[in-house]
């Protein structure tokens, strides 16, 4: 079946199976920043923005995306680049596998909550697991990024 979606601002038509998940559709169509991690929406590395809200694409049937707007990190390159500079300054990137999904979630957080507290940041990002960093350096980087008045 065919679905029509707007991906990163462009209208696209994808041919999908009824039991296909959005993660697989996006990767098959070269949106390779979307990663596979756990298969049951418990690790966060497959996060995309679905009409602006972060959702795990591994558990969203592609046909459910018909008519909706999807953003991957390919669609927020400048924001991701800026966030990566904060990560770099804190030594907060290690394997990097969870980082595109982190950029999307932080992007959504920035739009949704103004001046979030530490607890709000942690709560918002709790679904984005990281096994490398121990989280503290990421948290400092994200906080500094969100506090940057230039953004």
């Amino acid at each position: 079946m065919k679905i029509k979606v707007k991906v990163n601002g462009y209208h696209k038509t994808f041919d999908v199976n009824p039991d296909e998940y959005l993660l697989d559709t996006l990767r098959a169509n070269e949106y390779l920043s979307v990663k596979k991690g756990c298969d049951n929406s418990s690790c966060g590395v497959c996060t995309v923005l679905f009409d602006g809200k972060p959702v795990p694409s591994c558990s969203l049937l592609s046909m459910k995306a018909d008519g909706h707007e999807i953003t991957t990190v390919e669609g927020i390159q400048k924001d991701a680049e800026r966030l990566s500079e904060y990560f770099g300054e804190e030594g907060a990137d290690q394997c990097g596998y969870c980082n595109p999904s982190m950029a999307l979630t932080v992007f959504a957080l920035k739009k949704e909550i103004k001046d979030p507290t530490d607890e709000q940041i942690k709560d918002y990002l709790v679904g984005n697991l990281c096994r490398c960093t121990g989280y503290q350096s990421q948290h400092i980087a994200i906080k500094k990024y969100l506090g940057d008045d230039q953004l």
Partner: protein, 773 residues
Amino acid sequence: MKVVNHELPSIDGKGLMMGRPAYTDDLAERNSLIVKVLRSPHPYAKIIKIDCTKARALEGVELVLTYEDFERRPFTRAGQGYPEPSPHDKFVLDQFVRYVGDEAAVVAAIDAKIADEALTLIDIEYEVLEPILDFEKAFENPIVIHPEPEIHDMFPIGFEPLKNVAASYHMEVGNVAKSLSDCEVVLEHSFYTQAQAHAMMEPHTVNARIDYQNRLMLYTSTQTPFHVRRIISQVLDYPLSKIRVIKPRVGGGFGGKQAIHGEILVSAVTLRTGKPSKMVFTRKEVFESSYSRHPMRLDIKLGADKDGTLKAIDCFVLSDTGAYGEHALTVFMVAGSKVLPLYNKVDSVRFHGNVVYTNHTPAGAYRGYGAIQGNFALESAIDMLCEKLQMDPIEFRQKNMILEGETSPIFAIMGEGTEGTAMFMESCKLDYCVTRGLELLDWKHKYPRKPLDNNKVKGVGMAIAMQGSGIPYIDMAAATIKLNDDGFYNLLIGATDIGQGSDTILAQIAAEALGTTLDKVIVYSSDSDLTPFDTGAYASSTTYVSGNAVLKAAKDMRKMIVEEGAKALGVDVSEIEYDGIVIKTKDTEMTLKQLSNRLYYNEDQKQLTSTNSYVGTKSPPPFMAGFVEVDVDTLTGEVEIVEYVSVVDCGTTINPMLARGQVEGGIVQGIGMAVYEEVLYNKKGTLITNDFLNYKIPTRLEVKKLTTEFAVSYEEAGPFGAKSVGEIGIDTPPAALANAIYNAVGVRITSLPITPEKILKGLNEKRGQENGK
């Protein structure tokens, strides 16, 4: 120093955050066959019938493989140097399956859906055998997990498969029995550690193709690309010269990707079909069918005099290697060799035991590699002994622990599977680490406990630890540096960045030695055709071993530049002053940029390339002291980790920020093992904690405050004074937390993980005893 010991951002963080294709599956051929595995539902069974006719007939299925399709050639997937210290006890596919999740058959199809359907069409019948699911019942059990006659060890490792023993070991310094009988105070206790899962974010992933030169080419998410190439060649009897293994960006390893997982299967599929193929493990497969940490029982006896002099350590260890013996002996030995030297002043020490087979998911390498298990037991036992002695545990450690300039006989006796290498501690700031940690946590105002409101009690605890820096005389690394026109370099290294930042820190070492900036050193690592050899990212070897290779190659390059500069300027080498940018004599000068353009385009044309390599002659240990503050809820048994203080001696930190990342990441993984990560099997032997909903790794909510500092330390043998830092962070949390919880509420948990249920049970027993009085 201008580059080394500076907090520079990693060279690849930006591109990865921006989502540029870099990981194994990003680089798979788009039309790859999908490889899937039919996995055993039984912990132990013999395949008595396997009929693939229907599966093979399904349209879109290209290949179905069973044990009948492979030559019977035992090997080990361990991914270690050759000959391996692990038994060759695995076949690509076998008629026996030895754990739930073991491979029974392999399907390759044009898409995932067809592959899944094909798996259901394989007609397989098992003779279900009685398994061994309790590792304490495995030794000499009448059930034998590996009765096959072809399996063997590569050199003596105590391999006795008919007794279910994958490896065994015994060593004794002095006379432990006599020492213990002479001691005024003896402490005896057993400790249990569980099978922690690596839970790296990127699942095991591999793909293969036949390239335009008709060679087999793999991208694989591995820590050991050169071992992968060798093992594929040996197992499939395919020429090494026709295999290229590329490790692209890896999404975390922690030891779990040291071993071979899907590589042989996709190679077999691609060689037989001529078509590209790929395999991406499901998360369930990562948990169930890759590796975990070796669970252990450690029986400890400590003997001391009343003045607090530790006299004897006796340690018997029973380790569970699961269905296959990968890393069986070496992980077991590290539980002694990288723990016992912490207390080097004892009269006698014994370390012995067995590594047994069970019908569980196999165990393998995992960050800490035995040291975390040994550390939990010994550092818990030390606190228990101190209580018996009525002695302050800090004072006891300061009196008995290893100091700079000292040695331990264990270094010479215990290596990794072989004899060790004697060494003195040229750099050991453990005493500073302890003192500084006490200050940072404000220990004296918090030890041992402080009652809080709401039924909570605050407690503090600590542990000391050591690790190693590579395996002496075995781990070899090489580096090639190529000067390019315009005066920048390529650094080609076999070393394997798995996310720990080795590409960045090795480029920093090169840039420092070359006198240039980090942006002028372009790194390519881990391509078996294009980069020089390196044993891989394991045993905390990269900074020290690969770093030394890079340093040697950079010094060679610098010398070549000076020679060519002297030639260009028409003077003797002795007249040259060179700072990495400008080549100067008394009255003339030339920039490196001018020289390199001259070399490649104008006069005396030649390519400047240097290659050098390094093999360690010792393994200088990094040390650390870990301190933790916890609030324990006496009504629920819940533990909140308020702060974790780490003071680490890893010599010079090549990049202090990335070193801190290694320590903090290790601490949180160690905290996970200590208090959250419970491994559960059902009665049938099926792993039930096989996804992130059931197997709980720490989230960002659990991490409150990590304080990490580095001691000023310099290791003569290390590159710019560096030792390793990749593993040391994980070692202290289990013991430090057990000690802190005991100090808070008086409940001693000796079996990991320390769950609220165990604490509450202990509290209730204690209350019962108190009421009984």
